[in-house]
């Protein structure tokens, strides 16, 4: 997790077909217990090596500015980057098609078995693991931030606003985003 790993990271992108995108995003969404960002990062950076940590973070950041689920926005942009319109369509089909079926299936199962105590206990243990995955993701992503006070200051302010003060995300973004973009524009 040093700067060195970032520079060393070799991308394996020669060309990516819509079918490969469909398969990769199917795998992401079908493994996405407790949030998709951990699995998207793992598949796109570590397994397929289509993106660097920085690419991933940049695309995810743009996705967060746009309405809708953040990882869905990332899916559209990654699909489009590698295989144009059909790439975006295949990636979205993989990412949302399966969960549609699975969530309905789980709804039916839950109606029948959800009250069993073992099910509740197992779910409790799995939620603790899900929290750990999200925490590990952010630690890995934070390794790309430059060793400079400004980015860390903005990161800390965003964390305090949303995580500690529990202010609405929109306000926090409206307060911090223009300032952060302006500072980057001016000093980099």
């Amino acid at each position: 997790m040093s700067d060195q790993t970032l520079e060393q990271q070799k991308l394996l992108t020669t060309s990516v077909t819509p079918l490969q995108l469909f398969v990769a995003f199917s795998r992401i969404s079908l493994s996405s217990f407790g949030g998709a960002i951990f699995w998207a990062r793992r598949e796109l950076i570590e397994r397929q090596r289509w993106l660097t940590e920085r690419d991933f973070l940049e695309i995810y950041t743009l996705g967060q500015l746009l309405p809708g689920p953040n990882v869905l926005n990332l899916t559209v942009m990654v699909g489009y980057r590698f295989a144009g319109w059909s790439g975006a369509a295949s990636a979205v089909a993989g990412f949302l098609g399966w969960p549609c079926l699975v969530v309905v299936g789980m709804g039916i199962l839950y109606q029948n078995y959800g009250q069993l105590p073992y099910v509740q206990q197992a779910l409790g243990g799995m939620s603790s693991v899900a929290a750990g995955l999200l925490l590990a993701t952010v630690i890995k992503l934070a390794a790309v931030l430059p060793r400079h006070f400004r980015p860390w200051l903005f990161g800390a302010l965003a964390f305090i606003g949303v995580g500690v003060m529990r202010w609405p995300l929109l306000w926090v973004m409206a307060a911090l985003a223009p300032w952060a973009v302006f500072a980057t524009w001016k000093y980099e």
Binding site: L30, E58, P69, A88, L123, V129, A130, V144, L169
Partner: protein
């Protein structure tokens, strides 16, 4: 349940998803208000149950809207509540993605991407903290979370094994 107007539900969800800047959690209260309080399509308990199931199911957490559709009107309901979730991503995001790929060196895109990256990290960190505090009730839950972090950072194992371990720990009464 009063008469269900799928067209109205579709339109309402469509508008809400265009407002969901920053992710699905921003419009969660409005979806709850529409479905439970304003139109009494579901009870509060049903809504909470649906939300929990969708959190546990693989896939983006926003898929709880799909399950709302299923509860209300079967597959037709699934279409009415899931398509709206897709519309902003396939229109607005496509457009922005297109511009970003076409002009990757435009100063405005560069400044947005670089400048907002740390904010993104701060926000994901905040989500992780909130989730950790919500799901863990005592030190044992925190221990599982921290062991997960340590394993993921050090070992290349497939984390689905960690989920299996977490489920087992729960069943054995550890959590």
């Amino acid at each position: 349940m009063e008469g269900l107007d799928l067209g109205a539900l579709f339109l309402q969800f469509l508008i809400l998803w265009f407002l969901a800047i920053g992710g699905p959690s921003t419009i969660f209260p409005d979806i709850h208000r529409y479905v439970v309080e304003a139109h009494h399509l579901l009870t509060g308990e049903q809504f909470a149950e649906i939300y929990t199931v969708a959190q546990v199911a693989p896939g983006p957490n926003a898929m709880y809207v799909t399950l709302i559709g299923w509860y209300l009107a079967g597959w037709k309901g699934v279409v009415a509540t899931t398509i709206p979730l897709l519309v902003p991503a396939t229109t607005l995001t496509m457009f922005v993605g297109h511009l970003n790929e076409r002009y990757p060196d435009a100063p405005i895109f560069r400044a947005i991407r670089r400048g907002l990256m740390p904010i993104t990290i701060g926000l994901v960190f905040a989500s992780a903290m909130i989730l950790m505090r919500t799901v863990n009730h005592d030190w044992r839950g925190y221990l599982i979370t921290l062991v997960t972090v340590a394993v993921v950072l050090r070992k290349p194992w497939n984390p689905l094994w960690l989920f299996a371990g977490g489920a087992l720990a729960g069943i054995l009464g550890f959590v």
